[in-house]
């Protein structure tokens, strides 16, 4: 696969191979090889779905259901991709997904990082109660909220608008994000903030200049999860949006399925198209996580 070249560029900070090569023929080296073999095999397993989706997106129903399930497509049906691009307004759907997801990530990142900081660090009586209250959001089975949320959004006059997706997505990103964040905020040594406090910083400055940079790996991680859940969300997007010009990409893709006949190859092509941006976002954001090592080294 194309990711293979990444290995070459890889520049790990602490390299097992390098360290164990100091003394050849030792157990460490053998273990290192076994480890690498394990990681390699596991990588193949994890990579397979993407590969399979790629093949899937070039097949037709005959091949997908029994004719040729796992092998290469007999004919590479580029027409599946043509179908996706010509049915409905894929360009608009894509932009809608980008807008909804971007706003969701931006707003939720601000809210959940401030909130997590307030819960862990600030002194108020209800911080634990509040955390539990927020955690309730993780526990709600989504389908049960469909009707109540529809009613609430209708009363706020938000149905069939970007906000009817953005607001629920933010709301559901908050509990998971805050919970992860609190775990990270706890890991920041208090001394750093205290040092800043002596220098006369305000709480906002401490948060913005000291805490936030240290939370970058956590924020990136949370952003990945928020991205995934809002980018792929289907039920709200189907129910709260009726106008074609506001539909999101996943809804557009699932629209290729019909009541009596579903062209699975085209759906595969659509899913492939929506997966690529996800993969790119993931690589970019998780590089942030890795880079944070350097930030973490700047220690007070």
């Amino acid at each position: 696969m194309k990711s293979g070249c990444i290995i070459v560029k890889e520049n790990a900070n602490v390299n097992l191979e390098v360290r164990s090569s100091k003394s050849p023929f030792n157990i460490k080296k053998i273990l290192g090889v076994i480890l690498l073999a394990f990681f390699g095999i596991y990588a193949v397993i994890q990579l397979y779905p993407l590969f399979w989706l790629l093949l899937f997106s070039f097949k037709d129903n005959q091949e997908i259901f029994g004719g040729n399930v796992l092998g290469l497509p007999g004919v590479w049906r580029v027409s599946n991709y043509v179908t996706v691009f010509t049915s409905g307004n894929v360009g608009i759907y894509f932009m809608n997904s980008v807008i909804v997801t971007a706003v969701t990530i931006a707003v939720s990142s601000v809210l959940l990082s401030t909130c997590a900081y307030a819960i862990v660090r600030m002194h108020w009586k209800l911080n634990n109660v509040f955390l539990t209250y927020i955690l309730l959001g993780m526990m709600v089975p989504l389908h049960a909220t469909l009707l109540p949320m529809f009613i609430i959004l209708r009363n706020m006059n938000l149905l069939d608008s970007y906000w009817s997706l953005i607001i629920p997505y933010i709301a559901f990103a908050l509990p998971i994000g805050i919970f992860i964040m609190t775990g990270f905020v706890k890991g920041i040594p208090k001394e750093i903030e205290e040092a800043a406090c002596i220098d006369g910083c305000s709480i906002y400055k401490i948060f913005y200049h000291i805490v936030l940079p240290l939370l970058r790996p956590a924020l990136s991680t949370v952003a990945i999860f928020t991205f995934l859940s809002s980018w792929n969300e289907l039920m709200f997007a189907n129910t709260f949006i009726s106008s074609d010009r506001l539909k999101t990409l996943t809804v557009g893709i699932m629209s290729l399925a019909g009541q009596h006949a579903t062209d699975w190859g085209a759906i595969g092509a659509g899913l492939m198209i929506s997966t690529v941006p996800t993969l790119i976002i993931y690589i970019l954001l998780s590089d942030q996580v890795q880079k944070s090592l350097i930030v973490g080294a700047v220690k007070g």
Partner: protein, 430 residues
């Protein structure tokens, strides 16, 4: 931090009141606007997402061009998501003006909750005469009509003539011949039938059809209407017949995990000689390489039982209804009359459905061949029909029926238990 808690609780109380009072339908949408010169826009939700021939879209465009003052604004949602969406919107009192719906049990709760407009007063302008006999039966509740059907279902046994010829098997006309055919195919290493029982409803079609042949249309309808018991010999016998097929190896061994898409693909790949399903599969079969090698025949009869071969499983299914909360009821009814009549013919032509409206004016030669065969051999000249039971039964009962049929496929219950449980769980819980 007390002040903060106070703000919070006030906010919570306010929003709760606002939210709960919202449960009652909005009152603002109730005044009918009747000025005919005023330009109105009707909202129309449907599930026609995969509409390769643009039947739905073209018909709407046609209407919008002809009626500049009554514009239809349509929104299509994928089938399963559509069910969630329309139920949620109707429950919240936010239904579109025109609703795509399924006749029978799906629409019944909406009707009972007064969410759907009764159409009787609108239909005496000759509309009924344009429709086929019995077209409105499944969408009539307590003697009132609540929608216009435009498409009906009919069950047919699709037979792959190539496989029949190759294996020297005759297309069965009685159940005994069917069982014999299953065994012959089996002995030659061919699985005789296919069904996507993971999705539950395809297997139900098999059972409901066998039941119709065992009981005859009247007894099935009586039981569905709770006027007769399911716990009678013919229903148990029907369950026994289905299990006979299962035990004879008519279906593949992983029948419980096969999806319906999978089963259709197996049939169109030419691996399976027989497939009992609705006419809605006709266009898919005619679009495959099997075209011309498939015949759609009546389901075999059962010797010594009440059912006759002129009865079929099916009836009016897809329908258009008007929301009782619509601001523009007259215009909406006007629109669905046009839409339903037009779809009826166009879907028949394309092989997507069987007509509910008279179709004398369409070019017979252009009709999808399998659909035409089903219409002429199964529907025309029929003496009775029973809808697939999930169309007739409401949500909970339909689901129970699905589950029990699946238990038959999985050999989890005996035919006798099946009949008893259908009676106690479906007819007994009203």
């Amino acid at each position: 931090m007390k002040s903060f808690a106070k703000i919070g609780s006030v906010f919570l109380a306010v929003s709760l009141v606002a939210g709960l009072s919202a449960c009652s339908p909005a009152s603002s949408s109730a005044n009918p606007a009747s000025a005919s010169n005023q330009k109105v826009t009707l909202t129309f939700w449907n599930n026609y997402t995969n509409d390769p021939q643009h039947i739905m879209a073209d018909t709407i465009t046609e209407w919008n061009t002809k009626n500049p003052n009554i514009q239809i604004n349509a929104s299509a949602t994928e089938n399963n998501a559509y069910k969630l969406k329309i139920k949620t919107a109707i429950a919240a009192g936010n239904a579109p003006d025109i609703i795509y719906t399924w006749a029978g049990g799906f629409t019944q709760p909406f009707v009972q909750a007064n969410k759907i407009l009764a159409l009787d007063s609108y239909l005496n302008d000759g509309t009924k005469d344009k429709m086929l006999t019995g077209a409105l039966t499944n969408i009539t509740y307590d003697g009132k009509v609540y929608g216009l059907t435009y498409n009906q279902q009919a069950g047919a046994l699709y037979c792959n003539t190539q496989l029949f010829d190759k294996n020297g098997v005759k297309i069965p006309t009685t159940f005994d011949e069917l069982l014999a055919a299953v065994k012959t195919f089996k002995s030659k290493g061919v699985t005789a039938m296919t069904v996507g029982e993971k999705d539950e409803w395809p297997g139900m079609w098999y059972f409901d059809m066998i039941a119709l042949r065992e009981t005859g249309a009247q007894m099935s309808l009586d039981a569905l209407n709770k006027k007769a018991s399911y716990n009678q010999a013919p229903f148990a016998d029907a369950a026994g017949k289905l299990q006979d097929l299962v035990k004879a190896g008519a279906f593949s061994a992983n029948v419980l995990s096969e999806t319906r898409d999978q089963s259709v693909a197996e049939f169109t790949q030419g691996k399976i000689p027989m497939y009992f399903s609705g006419n809605f599969d006709a266009s898919m079969i005619d679009a495959s390489s099997l075209k011309g090698h498939v015949t759609a025949v009546k389901f075999p009869t059962i010797t010594g039982s009440k059912g006759v071969d002129t009865e079929y499983l099916g009836g009016g299914a897809d329908a258009l209804a008007v929301s009782a909360n619509s601001k523009y009821k007259d215009q909406a009814v006007q629109a669905i009359k046009f839409l339903a009549a037009t779809y009826s013919s166009r879907m028949y032509l394309s092989g997507g459905g069987l007509p509910e409206w008279k179709y004398d004016d369409i070019d017979e030669s252009k009709i999808d061949p399998l659909s035409k065969q089903i219409m002429s051999t199964i529907v025309q000249g029929s003496t009775g029909s029973v809808p697939a039971w999930d169309l007739y039964l409401t949500g909970n009962d339909a689901q129970t029926h699905y589950d029990l049929v699946q238990s038959l496929f999985g050999n989890q219950i005996t035919p006798q238990q099946f009949a008893e449980q259908m009676q106690s769980k479906v007819n007994g819980n009203s």
